[in-house]
């Protein structure tokens, strides 16, 4: 019976009607005139003067004047630039494989002529998977960037940069060169320090409007399903390899008992269920007051590589830590796959750059614009003592909202383990005990028979329409319930000890 149930489940998720609300439109932006016929976009932002900036795998950086619709080549020759910040109309900060680099046009001819290292105080084993992701800058002027781990798909080069550390070498994804798998901080005094540990493929840092720093990670070894973390100093987020660089940590990270690692790790504030929500999340971008995207200011957008989707994340502080829900927001064609980098255009529309680098994804640039009319969406999902409160952007059809069948909740967790990914464990349907709809029909409180801390709670809202009959554009929403409002039980380990033969190869 159990396998029958999961069989249905897979089928069910394929018929989920998620889609971009009709109030949003997607426009393709013509590709930049790269010499190399490869239009993957690995960095995207805007200059103060409103020009679009994109970085390509070829190492080229182009500007686009949105008024004259023309491209100009600003710089070339960078090594896999994977993120860019514009400090002025002639000065960019770029993360490329070997460095965080200041790229400047000093003579005003519109082309970069000076490439200054702002930090290269981190290692490179030369493994292709050691990406250097997204620089972000806080209000004080500190920079953060994210170092990917090396992949077991390959080894290390014959000459590596930085002190080689054999303790970080074993395992599927490794960290034999300094600080791979860490989020790095470059302080205003010019010091480069590992800021947090335990990241696998942290492809996308971003701040919320309160200055909290977030980063995504991709499903794999030690990562049961893809995640969003609230990055805090010296925290460890689960992927073992980078512990080789943590002061005071002894031994080989992957040989450390899982119990010990599980007790050290900090939980994700949002888990993106693999296969249904996201397989490879990317950039985190706050919806600023300047953004013209509807009533979602303060929430976060997170891109996804494997399917045409950009998600919306809503967080709240519970028991002192951030946690919350994610929901697809822009979903399905004409949005392309591989949404990797995004930023707000001067007119408040969203520009998205797509990439793939041999994985699932796409290539190109798209612009998403809002027509100013309210879409019918779940605006917010918040924890309550006995369940969740859903706030909608428009009044709902009370009759449908009040039916228990509208709310087929289930809950589960992902195991913490060295093996690749994790099945959904302990997956259970959750009964609805009561439903309350507010007077204005914009909020619905759904009480569950049981709320289980440290479990993911998800629902695909069935057939709900607004009071005027609009279909709910995105009805699959997932809340990562770590802490309860009251009486949170102690954090369970939720580990699985890998059997001998499925452990990382050691030699």
């Amino acid at each position: 019976m159990k396998s029958f149930f999961t069989f249905i489940f897979i089928f069910w998720t394929t018929s989920m009607p998620g889609a971009t609300a009709p109030q949003y439109s997607v426009t393709n932006i013509p590709a930049p005139p790269t010499k190399y016929k490869n239009f993957q976009i690995d960095g995207l932002t805007f200059l103060p003067n409103g020009k679009l900036v994109v970085c390509l795998p070829s190492g080229e950086i182009f500007f686009r004047d949105l008024k004259t619709e023309s491209w100009e080549l600003f710089a070339e020759g960078l090594h896999n630039p994977l993120g860019v910040i514009a400090l002025s109309n002639s000065e960019l900060i770029v993360t490329q494989r070997p460095e965080l680099t200041r790229v400047r046009d000093t003579d005003g001819d519109g082309k970069a002529d000076d490439f200054a290292v702002i930090t290269d105080h981190f290692g490179m084993s030369g493994n292709y998977h050691e990406f250097n992701f997204t620089p972000v800058r806080d209000k004080q002027g500190n920079y953060f960037f994210a170092l990917g781990t090396g992949s077991r798909g390959d080894g290390v080069r014959t000459i590596t940069r930085g002190t080689f550390n054999e303790r970080g070498r074993p395992g599927r994804m490794h960290s034999s060169a300094p600080y791979r798998g860490c989020i790095m901080k470059l302080t205003t005094e010019g010091k480069t320090i590992p800021w947090s540990y335990g990241h696998r493929t942290p492809n996308g840092l971003g701040f919320d409007l309160n200055g909290n720093l977030f980063v995504t990670d991709n499903q794999g070894d030690w990562v049961g399903s893809s995640k969003l973390f609230h990055v805090q100093k010296d925290h460890f987020y689960g992927h073992a390899a980078s512990l080789a660089w943590k002061e005071g940590f002894e031994g080989t990270p992957v040989d450390t008992p899982v119990e010990k690692l599980a007790k050290m790790r900090s939980r994700a504030c949002v888990v993106f269920p693999h296969g249904t929500m996201a397989n490879s999340p990317t950039k985190v971008l706050a919806i600023t007051p300047r953004a013209k995207m509807g009533p979602f200011t303060g929430q976060l957008l997170v891109g996804e590589m494997n399917r045409p989707r950009i998600m919306r994340v809503m967080l709240e502080k519970v028991g002192g830590e951030l946690q919350g829900a994610c929901v697809p927001f822009f979903d399905g064609s004409p949005l392309g796959r591989g949404c990797n980098r995004m930023d707000w255009a001067p007119d408040g529309s969203l520009f998205v750059g797509q990439t793939k680098h041999t994985w699932a994804g796409g290539e190109g640039i798209q612009q998403i614009s809002w027509n100013g009319k309210t879409p019918f969406e779940i605006q917010n999902m918040e924890l309550q003592e006995k369940g969740f409160k859903f706030t909608f952007t428009k009044p709902v059809n009370r009759e449908i909202g009040a039916k228990k069948e509208t709310w087929p909740f289930s809950r589960y967790f992902y195991e913490y383990r060295e093996a690749y990914g994790s099945p959904r464990s302990d997956e259970t349907k959750v009964e609805i005990s009561a439903i309350h709809i507010s007077k204005d029909a914009k909020t619905i409180e759904v009480e569950l028979a049981e709320l289980k801390a440290w479990h993911i709670h998800e629902v695909t809202v069935q057939n709900l329409t607004s009071s005027s009959g609009d279909k709910l554009s995105n009805n699959y929403i997932v809340y990562t319930l770590n802490r309860l409002l009251k009486n949170t039980p102690p954090e369970p380990l939720q580990i699985k000890v890998a059997s001998k033969d499925s452990k990382g190869k050691k030699s």
Partner: protein
């Protein structure tokens, strides 16, 4: 079809057939098709028509890789495949991750479907076969080499299928302006530059150790530019020529560039923190240099690095006759210095300041050090 209706139909049908012990072929293929097209399944890459995605994802429709039994395709599905492969004569560079959403039975349905969809005519796959493979295969993601060693092609198919070493046409022929790429180069740390200069001289400069590594002119600039830039970034650049100048270091012997292109080492020959033979010695200083960046001077790279309190710049261009490269250095503040060069039968080295020694040392006074140049030309070119 209305999703709710199909959902209902599906419930009905799968309820009925799960009570039968032996399923009909049609049932199996129908279930397989459903699963193949589900969220997160093969369809995401190989597409509903099984044709894959041009130049990126190989087709399953008509693929020879499905032939000669299903062990190979079961293995690919369970453990993934990473590395260049040729499918029915076309080349693919992408990687396929292990498919973890499916238990033995479901994967058997899917592969049965794949084996018999879009004109394919192969066997049905049983869940026992999948279970056995899942139990017995090593956990590693397959490379084309490890996969084909275990599941080789019969002669009939081996010509159009298998693995290959990517080689690409040189995208640059006559160099008319300097071209600078930061990329992986053999015989350098991963923080390397490949530079082409007008007159078609090329060099590798290593930011990891702030030093010129080698210079060549025949055989063209680096190959596989496209492969590097459209792939996951793994390929180490290749070139055909033999350097006419190659800096000797204490930590490398005479390893060939092939050897130094390896990416699959368990540990490196050395790491840059061990490199203690920086070619420029400043009086009284033992430190190693830090790379500061580079400036483009009429397109030519002017590297800069610091050594103690001193800043060194190194502009690399061509001589007027375009027969060799000129390295122009400045050291500020100036100080007594020694530059270690590598004498060789294939290059002549001429310095405009200081005293050259037979072992390649160039001795510079503080005054010399503020601005000096070294011309390196291949010997055959100058005679």
């Amino acid at each position: 079809m209305n999703p709710h209706l199909s959902f209902f139909l599906f419930l009905l049908l799968s309820g009925v057939c799960s009570s039968l012990s032996a399923e009909s072929r049609d049932e199996i293929l129908r279930k397989g098709k459903e699963l193949y097209n589900g969220a997160g399944s093969c369809v995401a890459c190989h597409m509903a028509d099984g044709k894959g995605q041009k130049g990126n994802i190989p087709p399953l429709a008509g693929s020879d890789w499905l032939k000669e039994g299903s062990d190979r395709s079961i293995a690919i599905s369970l453990r993934g495949l990473a590395g260049p492969i040729q499918v029915n004569g076309k080349k693919y560079y992408a990687a396929m991750p292990p498919q973890l959403l499916f238990d033995d039975e479901k994967l058997a349905y899917i592969l049965s479907y794949v084996n018999n969809a879009w004109g394919n005519q192969e066997d049905l796959v049983s869940k026992e076969e999948v279970a056995k493979a899942r139990r017995e295969l090593s956990q590693d993601v397959f490379t084309p080499q490890t996969l084909l060693k275990k599941f080789p092609f019969d002669k009939k198919y081996s010509k159009k299928n298998g693995t290959f070493t990517p080689t690409f046409d040189d995208t640059l022929t006559e160099i008319t302006r300097p071209v600078i790429y930061r990329t992986f180069m053999p015989g350098a740390s991963p923080a390397a530059f490949a530079v082409a200069l007008p007159g078609n001289h090329y060099f590798c400069w290593d930011a990891g150790e702030c030093r010129l590594r080698y210079v060549w002119t025949k055989g063209g600039f680096i190959k596989s530019n496209q492969a590097h830039w459209s792939s996951n970034g793994k390929p180490v650049a290749e070139f055909n020529g033999t350097p006419y100048y190659r800096a000797r270091t204490t930590l490398l012997e005479d390893e060939s560039f092939d050897e130094l292109s390896k990416t699959n080492m368990q540990k490196p020959i050395y790491d840059t923190s061990q490199a203690d033979d920086f070619p420029i010695r400043l009086k009284g200083l033992k430190e190693t240099p830090s790379f500061l960046g580079y400036q483009l001077v009429e397109g030519y790279p002017k590297f800069r690095y610091s050594l103690g309190e001193h800043t060194i710049t190194e502009l690399i261009g061509m001589n007027d006759k375009k027969t060799g490269i000129v390295r122009t250095f400045t050291i500020s503040p100036p100080t007594e210095a020694v530059l270690q060069l590598t004498p060789s039968a294939f290059a002549s080295i001429n310095c405009d300041q200081g005293k050259s020694k037979p072992d390649g040392k160039l001795l510079l006074s503080a005054k010399d050090s503020s601005h000096f140049s070294v011309l390196i030309t291949p010997v055959e070119e100058t005679n």
